[in-house]
Every structure is written in structure tokens, then in C-alpha cells.
């Protein structure tokens, strides 16, 4: 197992290098380029040239690439145009909020999607199946930000069931340890903080969970249907194994493989979805920050965010591979 992880980590190096080249070309060399994003449209050519020079854009390609790589490796993503503070610092202070939100969304999606997909497959063609398939189609087709607004206006503002903005009510006092509000509350046993933070997470989490929930439900359903038709399931049933054993050890274990991959990929997408939900609920995470950055064309922040997402994707992919090898011994042997 350890050898598998080490080998996977070593394989990451060429991937990361390739990714850095791709991102470099994408971000620095795209028509328009940084100087267009930084300057107003009517800037004189001399000013443009001066900026290109100060950004080092007139140097040879390879020199530019290595200085870009060097800066990233030192954690230097530049400074935000609007706040003037380093981009990495801005991200790190907002990361716990978004991470908490993403975890909430993924927990909702998995906790509801897996059983729903499984039951829909078990009773194929039934009312639950119809509702699950229809609901997930609807979930995929609804713009996330619209759903977020609906939840906010309906459940928070009209019915008053949930708070409509921020991470915590102003009246609640909190001891700061990690920046993760729920975790902090649990550690200091301030149960009111835990409850309040969870209430604030509920609606943005639900909105963010809509697409993963839909995808997980559909994938689980399709996957369980496929596995239930396999010969080994028939054999297991025929040799008189207990129903529960067949369902857990044979059907679910095999059906979960593609779902795990999907969950991994979806987790990466969550940070992009957070841009759409956090801004609706004024949730002070990376998403709201990016929302403001797109409105102000804050170029360093946007590029930094892409780098962050790319790095996260690589880490998540590694985790998916590891969980794969836990579920399926054949992967380990490769």
C-alpha cells in the first residue's frame, strides 16, 4: 500500500510540470494577455509596452516560464489589484470557509445520492426511480445561482427557517483556533457555535450540492443496475448467500468504483460552484472573493485561483486513486 502511494506521488511530478506549462501558456500567452486585463481598453501603446517590460513579457519564452515556475514554487502568486495583499494570503484566510462549505455539500450529496441511486436501481421503473431520475435531470438543468437565490428568498427570507447570509450570527461568540467554525466549536465544546455555523452552512451547502447530488444519484443508479446484471451476482444469489451479503459485498462494492471517481472529480468542481453559491449568501469564502475578482477583472486573483484548483485537482485525483486501490485490489497490482 505504501509503495503504491509513493509510486503515485512520483508520477505526480511530470503531471505537475506539464500542468504548469499548460497554465503558463494559457494565462500568459492568450490573446489579450495580462496587460490587456490590467490596463483600461483605451491605454496608449507606450503604457502598454512599459507594462509588458515591467512584467517581463518581452523576455524569451523559456526565461519567462522558469521565472513563472520559480514564483509559483515559492508560493508567490502576485498581489490582488483590489486589496493589494498577496493572493496566497487572501486565499488562505478564506480557505476554511470554502472548505467547510464544500465538505457540507459533498456530505449532503453522498449521504442522499448513494441511497437514492441504490433504491432507484433496486426498484427500477417504480415511483422512486422516476422521481430520482427526473429530479436529478432537473438538478443538472437548473442554474446553480438561481437555485441558491430561490433557497435564500424562499427558506431564509420568506419563511425565516435559516439565516440568509454570512458564516455565523453576530450574537454568537466564538473562540478562533483553526478557522473552521464547526471544528472550533466542537473542540471548545461551544455547542451554540456548532449549531449556528451548521445552520449558516445548510442553504449554501444545499445549493452547492445540487449538481453533485444529481450526478451521484444517476451514476449510482446506472452502476448498481449494471452490476446487478453481472454473472457473479447471479452466482452469489444461486449459491444461497444471504441477501444482505450479496448486496453489500458483491453489488455495492463493485458499483461504488465509478461513483468514487465521480465524487473525486465533483469535489474539484465544487470550488468553481462555490463562486456561484457563496456570492448569493454573502458567505465570506474564496468563492465570493473570486466573484468580486471577476467583476473587477482582478487578474492575479483569477490566475491564482486556477493554479489552486489545478493543484487541488491533482491532490484529489491522488486520493481517488488511493481509495480505488482500497476498493479494488486489482488496481494495486498494476
Amino acid at each position: 500500500m505504501l509503495r503504491f502511494i509513493v509510486r503515485r506521488l512520483l508520477q505526480l511530478i511530470p503531471t505537475l510540470l506539464g500542468l504548469s506549462i499548460l497554465l503558463f501558456v494559457w494565462l500568459q500567452r492568450l490573446p489579450g494577455g495580462p496587460e490587456n486585463a490590467l490596463l483600461p481598453d483605451n491605454a496608449p501603446p507606450e503604457q502598454r509596452e512599459a507594462l509588458r517590460e515591467s512584467l517581463g513579457l518581452d523576455e524569451p519564452f523559456t526565461v519567462q516560464y522558469f521565472s513563472f515556475l520559480g514564483r509559483i514554487l515559492q508560493g508567490d502568486l502576485g498581489a490582488s489589484i483590489h486589496t493589494g495583499r498577496p493572493v496566497l494570503e487572501e486565499f488562505l484566510t478564506r480557505f476554511p470557509a470554502t472548505f467547510e462549505l464544500a465538505v457540507t455539500a459533498i456530505v449532503i450529496a453522498v449521504a442522499a445520492g448513494l441511497p437514492l441511486g441504490y433504491l432507484a436501481a433496486r426498484r427500477r421503473g417504480g415511483a422512486l426511480d422516476f422521481a430520482a431520475v427526473g429530479g436529478s435531470l432537473l438538478g443538472i438543468c437548473t442554474p446553480v445561482f438561481f437555485l441558491a437565490f430561490l433557497l435564500k428568498v424562499g427558506l431564509a427570507e420568506q419563511l425565516g427557517l435559516f439565516p440568509s447570509a454570512f458564516r455565523l450570527s453576530p450574537a454568537v461568540n466564538r473562540t478562533d483556533i483553526t478557522g473552521f467554525f464547526v471544528l472550533d466549536g466542537l473542540m471548545t465544546r461551544e455547542w451554540d457555535v456548532v449549531w449556528d455555523a451548521l445552520l449558516h452552512l445548510a442553504l449554501p451547502g444545499l445549493a452547492l450540492a445540487s449538481i453533485p447530488l444529481a450526478v451521484i444519484t444517476r451514476m449510482t443508479r446506472a452502476s448498481v443496475l449494471e452490476v446487478m446484471g453481472e454473472d457473479y451476482v447471479r452466482t452469489a444469489n444461486a449459491k444461497g448467500l444471504h441477501r444482505t451479503t450479496v448486496r453489500t459485498r458483491h453489488v455495492l462494492r463493485n458499483a461504488l468504483l465509478p461513483v468514487v471517481t465521480a465524487v473525486g472529480l465533483l469535489s474539484g468542481q465544487l470550488f468553481a460552484g462555490a463562486v456561484l453559491t457563496e456570492s448569493v449568501f454573502a458567505f465570506p469564502g474564496i468563492g465570493s472573493f473570486i466573484y468580486e475578482a471577476t467583476h473587477g477583472r482582478d487578474y492575479p486573483v483569477l490566475t491564482g485561483f486556477i493554479l489552486l484548483i489545478a493543484a487541488m485537482y491533482v491532490v484529489i485525483n491522488l486520493l481517488v486513486d488511493i481509495s480505488y486501490s482500497l476498493l479494488d485490489p486489482r488496481v494495486r497490482a498494476q
Binding site: 499548460l22 489579450g32 435531470l137 432537473l138 437548473t142 483569477l302 489545478a310
Partner: protein, 347 residues
């Protein structure tokens, strides 16, 4: 024994007929008619399979005709396209005319609902909502189609190059394929919406940007699909036959492998039309959408209307319903097409 798609269980057919005859007196007429129609379809299905050559597309079409999902999707898509194409005739007023501007006061929560002259009421600037909705359908369709075409064209170019290199290019071809696929995989790693956001943020907001951004974000998906399909075709007998007959490689790739690999790509195009419309709405919400008010688009309308969701929900509901139903239509159509083309998904 070759089983036709329409009769997965041929041995069961006579049983059902016998039952129908035995209980003739009690079985309602429409049941008997249905049984007859089923039998007829089965016989015809068998005949087609035995005699004529029926193409995969004709088969798929026949299967889709009986799938309620496909019919619903097709109806939605047809209505949407017709409305979009005929929108200049259907819209009674100019979508930008603020002729009723003196009747709407968003600050005082005074909005005008549906009435005889404005079927869906007025928006927050006193423009006719129905005209905007109908003209918006046109713009939305254009965004969806152009974005999909961009993704389709460049994706197919990349994927087709990688696929034909891998299948026909020998050892060097495999290397080229490897490099291309690594790039595509890395592009795939970034969420499509984020790719679109970077493009839009770099180039600046406009309708063209939205279409390009959404389309570019779809390139890796198309590339992967086409390459995968071409690889699957690569070791088929007909490719081997063409190769041994000395057909030029370019010709094999373009006229033999490519047409046979288009299935999944066409399915994806249908699904992408839905994604493109939703992504375009998200871009509008992020302020990267079309700033030109003269051509309303559902995404822009929805993004603008969010502010009034608690006071005048109708402003947001119409474009939102438009987006959701249209996306649903394309998704249903694409999914049922996929089902009809893929024997593994059929049961």
C-alpha cells in the same frame, strides 16, 4: 438466434398471444390492439434484421420514436427552435423599447404584471417581458449553437488528430497521441466554468466572449470522446481490410474511421447545448455576460432579475423556466439518443 432490439424475448411472444386468445372475451379492446401492435412491430423488426441492412442511426431513430423521454425532449427542442427562429414575428414590441418606463418603479416595488397589451408584464425598466423572452430565445439558441460548434470543431480536430495518430501512426503516432491526450487531460482537470471565466475575464465581456468561452471549455470533452471512439474502431476488421488494400492513411482516418466514431460525439453535442445555455447564464451572473442590452439573452435577463426575486419573482421566473426547460429538452434528447445508440444501456 439473432434477437431484434424490439423483441428482446422472442420465446415469450407466443405465450402472450395464446393468453390473449384464451382470455379473448375478457381482455379489453385496447389491450388486444396493443398486443397486436406489439406483435406487428416484432415481426417487422425481425424482417428488417433478417433482410435489409438497417443502419445504426435508423435503428436508433426507431428506438427513440417509442421512448417517451426522447419524444418529450424532441418536442421541447422543436418548440424552442421554432420560437427562436420566428421570434421577430412573434414579438409584438421591440425588446429594448422602454415605452412603459413611467409605470414601473423598482425602488418603490411597483411592477406591472401580465395584462392585455403586455402578456407577461413589464421588466424593471418598463420593457415588454414577453417580447424580451421571445427574442431572448433566439439569442440563447445562438449562444448554445455557436458554443457547441466551437467545442465540437476544435475538440474534433484535436481528438481526431490524436485518434488517427494512435490508430494509424505507428510508434511515433502513439507518442503524438500521448502528448496530445496529456494536454487534453489537463484541460479536463479545470472545471469548465472556470475555464470559461478566465477566457471571458481576459477578453472582456461580450456575447462573442460568452460563446467562445463556453465553447473552448467544452473542447477537451469532445476531444476525449472522439479519440476514444476512434481507438475503439481502430482494430476493427474493416480498418485492417482498408489498410491491406493499400488505402491511404488519411483516407482511412477520414472516410472509414471518423464517420463510424461520430456517435458519442453527436450525443455529446446535444448534451453540450444544454450545458452551454446553463454556463452562459452563470457567466452572465458573474458579470461576464453580454453587456449589450439590445439583444436580450435568457442568462442576462435572469442575472438582472435576481435583484428583484423577492419583490417581483416573475421577472426571474420566466427566463429561469426558459433555461431549465430548454436545457431539460436537450438533455432528454441527448440521453435517449445515447441510450438508443449504446446497446449496453438498453435493457
Amino acid at each position: 438466434m439473432p434477437t431484434t432490439p424490439s423483441s428482446p424475448n422472442q420465446s415469450g411472444v407466443p405465450d402472450r398471444d395464446e393468453a390473449a386468445v384464451a382470455e379473448d372475451g375478457r381482455v379489453p379492446l385496447h389491450r388486444r390492439k396493443a398486443a397486436k401492435a406489439d406483435r406487428l412491430a416484432e415481426l417487422m423488426g425481425t424482417r428488417v434484421d433478417e433482410g435489409q441492412i438497417s443502419g445504426i442511426w435508423i435503428d436508433a431513430f426507431r428506438r427513440m420514436r417509442r421512448n417517451p423521454m426522447a419524444i418529450t425532449g424532441a418536442v421541447i427542442v422543436v418548440v424552442f427552435v421554432v420560437v427562436a427562429l420566428l421570434s421577430p414575428l412573434l414579438a409584438p414590441y421591440s425588446p429594448t423599447s422602454q415605452a412603459w418606463g413611467s409605470e414601473v418603479f423598482p425602488n418603490r416595488n411597483e411592477f406591472v404584471g401580465p395584462r392585455a397589451e403586455n402578456w407577461l408584464g413589464l421588466d424593471h425598466l418598463g420593457r415588454d417581458l414577453y417580447s424580451r423572452f421571445v427574442i431572448g430565445a433566439r439569442q440563447t439558441l445562438m449562444v448554445g449553437v455557436v458554443a457547441t460548434l466551437v467545442g465540437f470543431f476544435f475538440g474534433a480536430l484535436l481528438g481526431g488528430a490524436a485518434g488517427s495518430c494512435a490508430v494509424l501512426g505507428g510508434r511515433w503516432g502513439a507518442r503524438v497521441d500521448n502528448v496530445l491526450m496529456r494536454i487534453i487531460d489537463m484541460m479536463l482537470a479545470l472545471p469548465t466554468l472556470l475555464l470559461a471565466v478566465t477566457v471571458a475575464a481576459l477578453v472582456g465581456p461580450s456575447l462573442t466572449t460568452v460563446m467562445l468561452a463556453v465553447g473552448i471549455a467544452q473542447i477537451p470533452i469532445f476531444a476525449r470522446l472522439l479519440r476514444g471512439a476512434m481507438l475503439a474502431q481502430g482494430n476493427r476488421d474493416y480498418v485492417l481490410a482498408a489498410q491491406s488494400l493499400g488505402v491511404r492513411k488519411r483516407k482511412i482516418a477520414l472516410t472509414h474511421i471518423l464517420p463510424n466514431s461520430m456517435g458519442p460525439v453527436i450525443v455529446q453535442s446535444t448534451l453540450t447545448l444544454a450545458t452551454a445555455i446553463i454556463d452562459a447564464a452563470a457567466l452572465s451572473y458573474l458579470g461576464l455576460g453580454n453587456p449589450d442590452a439590445s439583444s436580450p439573452e435568457w442568462g442576462t435577463m435572469l442575472a438582472e432579475a435576481q435583484r428583484f426575486l423577492s419583490t417581483a419573482p416573475a421577472l426571474a421566473v420566466y427566463p429561469a423556466l426558459g433555461i431549465i426547460i430548454t436545457a431539460l429538452g436537450f438533455t432528454l434528447l441527448g440521453e435517449s439518443l445515447r441510450e438508443a445508440l449504446d446497446p449496453k444501456l438498453r435493457k
